[in-house]
Symmetry: C2
Subunit: 106 residues, 2 copies
């Protein structure tokens, strides 16, 4: 049973880790976008970039879901995709950390 | 009554004028896109650019409709928006030119 009750102290840690990961994701997205845009020479590429942006927005919306009921899954996924480390979450309960680690191995 | 019967000679002229206008439109679009992209620093701007691309695609699809039943209207609109000149269409029938000019004034 996933522990979705977060104390205030845990919420602060979660928020910081989450926000940092979102910022990093957006920063990569913008760099990648600018690089793609700079090398655009035809409209086919242009519409491909537009479609890619739609896809990325949908992926990011799914990946970064800050609901306390989802955070354990979100952090497990972010660890699995190497976007955060388990150490970043130091300070949250042992049970939550164990749940997250368990999910990263599935 | 709009004349939507195009002779082969007229079709050649129409196609050339149309294709040149489309190419110019796409060239402007790509330049504008690259300029917008280069100055992107946040995701709000990124999604605005994506929305702008969607809007521009829809506008361009409506504006450049190469159906012989629509060409008189399409050319009238392109003249009204100064994307082509009536002289570009030299060689098509007097009736068509008159219809186009009539529509540009409406």
């Amino acid at each position: 049973m996933i522990d979705s009750i977060w104390t205030n102290a845990e919420k602060k840690i979660a928020r910081r880790v989450f926000d940092t990961a979102v910022e990093r994701e957006f920063s990569h997205l913008i760099s990648e976008f600018k690089s793609k845009a700079a090398s655009t020479t035809d409209t086919e590429t242009l519409w491909d970039i537009r479609d890619w942006l739609n896809k990325r927005q949908s992926e990011i919306d799914g990946e970064f879901d800050y609901r306390y009921s989802q955070l354990i899954f979100v952090f497990a996924n972010l660890i699995r995709t190497r976007k955060i480390n388990i150490d970043d979450l130091a300070g949250i309960s042992e049970q939550k950390l164990a749940e997250i680690l368990f999910l990263t191995e599935r």
